[in-house]
Amino acid sequence: MKFVAVTSCPTGIAHTYMAAESLEQSAAAAGHEIVVETQGAGGAERVDPAVIADADAVIFAADVEVQARERFAGKPTVTSGVKGAINNGPALIAQAEEAATTAPATAIAPAAGGGATVATADGGGPELASKVQAGDSWGTRFRQWLMTGVSYLIPFVAAGGLLIALGFALNTIARGDQGYLVTDQADAFRAGLADSEVLFSATSLADWATLSMVIGQAAFGLIVPVLAGFIAFAMADRPGLAPGFVAGLVAGLVGAGFLGGLIGGLLAGGFVMWLKRVKLPFAFAGVWTVVVIPLLGSLVIGGLMILVLGGPIAALQNGLTSWLESLSGGSIVILGVILGLMMAFDMGGPVNKVAYFFGVASLSTSLETGTDTGLQIMAAVMAAGMVPPLALALAATLRSKLFTPAEQENAKPAWLLGASFITEGAIPFAASDPLRVIPSIMAGSALTGGLVMAFGSTLQAPHGGIFVVPFISNPWLYLVAIVAGMALGAFLVIAAKSTKRAEQQLVQAEVAAGLVPATR
């Protein structure tokens, strides 16, 4: 195995070097390679980053703070004092061996079979980018970055999505035929909180529904920042976190949704990777990583997102809205297909929102005028929005080998999220493999949208999934439409993921290179 170590003691003239010597002897005796960085009084010669990238584990034998510790982020790590290394070097080496072999989920399965294993979100985050070997293709690296973001994202989707679903369920029980009003209640609740007023009574089931909805929506608010933050983290280690999170939040501000967050995270990670290459005198290294990189990264990427993305997204949304209005006079089936495509395209992003709010606006108009068209549009929008998580949950259940362990876990909440019309449940799947997942679910949702229109089902509630079944006409045909889209989407995802990965990775490589300039 290959190890790197840092030794460091208060005076920096004796123990530092004794510990280094002891570790070198012990590693050699056990047949391992080790490179030791002695952070002593005479300064330290920094270990080559390539050596760190290559190392199976890191040993910190230090009685004072290890300098520039973030270089080793994500590696399996063994920590001790200098005396531990001097008195019992072989034991530390043995611990490092163990840490390297039991390190959670940093193995990479490039090219073949289901892709890479995803880091778990606990234990300080083993980080995938550092395990990507220098020779790995851009496609593999790109996938590793996205997967890291997704692995941290999933708990937020599960917690937030299930709380929202619970809110819908409780609300239907509590309020009966006014079940869908819970989203309005949540808005009122938040407005109350802003005025230091908690509109909550423990004996009111409806209030519990609202509470669950409010908390769930808060957790959902973190989805895009967490995704962007941890994509940047995978690319640039800890210094990438702040710019990444900020990029994700700004994506939310400009309404860019998860695709905006994905791009923001990649941009932030790439920019920080570049900033980290700046060679600095040792004394500035700390300030550079802790202050300057987060500051510059957040400002530049956040500014870029607002100034470059904000305008086009607003224009896109306005354009799409007037386009949909012009279409509503024509074939209603084609309108259903288009709404389906839009609902699945970015799963809660700007395009999805245009389709959804078009549905809600049509619903209100129809409820006022007593016509059916708007109710049909709403029905198509909701059914199409339910399909992506359901299709992916189905695919991950049928062919689990094509999905990472984290994605397989995500399949379970995704069933419930899809059934509750929480399209965001598909984001973890889409974020780690957008080029194969998004077109597939768009096709599934388009089929469902078209079928709902063809069947003439109507819906008189703006949200709620299976919890608003009482407001759906022709519920059985409605279900048929959903199942058909779900089956199509699942089939296409399985087919896309089964095709030759090499070709796909080349495409991804180009995307990565285009999205992340100046990093290599």
Binding site: G12, A14, G42, N87
Partner: protein
């Protein structure tokens, strides 16, 4: 090189005591420090000892295998130097497995340059080598000990 010339040598025979008579680490350290004062390596004994004690207070310098390495960087040190004492009865430097029989008092000037620090680093690395310790345990002549240490740490 500084390490091998008598003038600024890392250690000379006058800085070796193969029959160190001391029962406490303060005594042992003071005795070795006095050898360095006599050779002009330290210009203020009490100031230097205070610096050593400050270092010792952070973490005991006794190591397993009967080694004690009291040390510090101090303004009162003029040349990077080590004094070596050997105690048959042993002196407690706080190691878990018992008293130290080989005691190295390592004195570094506060502003030591990197060449000097490298010599001390090389010395520190020797201290974890079994052969180095064995030779010092078996040695009988202070001049030979000083020669041996100087040769070992020559960069």
């Amino acid at each position: 090189m500084t390490a091998t010339t008598e003038n600024g040598a890392l250690i000379t025979s006058a800085m070796v005591d193969l029959d160190l008579e001391a029962t406490t680490k303060d005594e042992a350290t003071r005795h070795l420090a006095e050898l360095l004062v006599a050779e002009g390596r330290i210009n203020d004994l009490d100031g230097f000892l205070a610096d050593v004690r400050a270092r010792e207070a952070q973490m005991a310098t006794g190591l397993e295998g009967g080694i004690g390495i009291p040390h510090c960087r101090s303004e009162h040190v003029t040349v990077p130097t080590v004094a070596f004492g050997r105690s048959d009865d042993g002196v407690d430097y706080g190691a878990a497995d018992g008293p130290a029989h080989l005691i190295f008092l390592i004195a570094a000037p506060a502003g030591a340059d990197s060449a000097h620090l490298k010599i001390l680093a090389a010395l520190a690395r020797r201290l974890v080598r079994a052969e180095f310790k064995d030779n010092l345990r078996a040695a009988t002549d202070p001049a030979a000990v000083a020669d041996y240490i100087r040769t070992e740490v020559t960069p």
